[in-house]
Amino acid sequence: MMQVMDSILTVILIILALLTLVCMIKAVIGPRVGDRIVCVNMMGTMVMTIIAILAIKMKEGYLVDICIIYAMISFLAVVVLCKVYMGVYAARRERIRSKQRKEDVEASANESAESTMSVDGKQGDESKNGTMECSEKEAK
């Protein structure tokens, strides 16, 4: 029975290693950021299972300590990465929003200034033309 158990555990180890490789390929391809975070978490979980199977097969009890450490570290990685990326995205959007708000305020100020100038009428245009002709003569 022990030989059967050993061979079955070896086959399961090979299958899990191939699944980890597929996960890594998906982490490289995946178009969005969330894809990569999910795949890194999954790879950590599969490596945890591999370590636990090795601990039972070689009858060394202290390898299970490493499993708990892997669980903590991968959970912590997901928490910190999600928080940082949400902050970066919201900051970018806020920067663009404030820039657009400034442009809106300037556009409305320009519109109100143009409307007051057109109310003044021809005097403004004539004075402007006069000054422009003087400056052109000076330049020549």
Binding site: D65, I68, C82, Y85
Partner: protein
């Protein structure tokens, strides 16, 4: 006594193989779906159930020992931590995806989503 040990090992191997099947289904789910929220759902459920059943099978194979108690502690830790990771990733997706309206039917107000 030999027979009881063999039955115990056989039962443990069966539970372990069911756990590995969950991992296979999870990988199929990740490759197959088109949207990120579907893939995250497959990954979260497959992860938790797969590792908990696998470690439970290993506990049955090992018998009563200090190693078994440590494996039980790993199961308890992952039972709490893995679904929280899924919650955080879905929150990230809801906050940064611009085309969320095309993928998911949303029944709440627009202002509450953009907070």
């Amino acid at each position: 006594m030999e027979m009881w040990t063999n039955i115990r090992i056989g039962l443990g191997l069966l539970v372990l193989i069911i756990g590995i099947l969950f991992f296979l289904l999870e990988i199929i789910g990740i490759i197959k779906y088109k949207f990120l929220l579907n893939r995250m759902h497959a990954a979260g459920m497959g992860d938790t159930m797969g590792i908990c059943l696998s470690l439970f099978g290993l506990m049955i194979i090992n018998g009563l020992d200090f190693t078994t108690a440590k494996l039980f502690m790993v199961i308890l830790f992952l039972w709490f931590a893995s679904p929280t990771a899924s919650h955080l990733i879905s929150r990230l997706e809801a906050a940064t995806d611009e085309e969320l309206g095309r993928h998911v039917r949303i029944d709440i107000e627009k202002e509450e989503l953009e907070k």
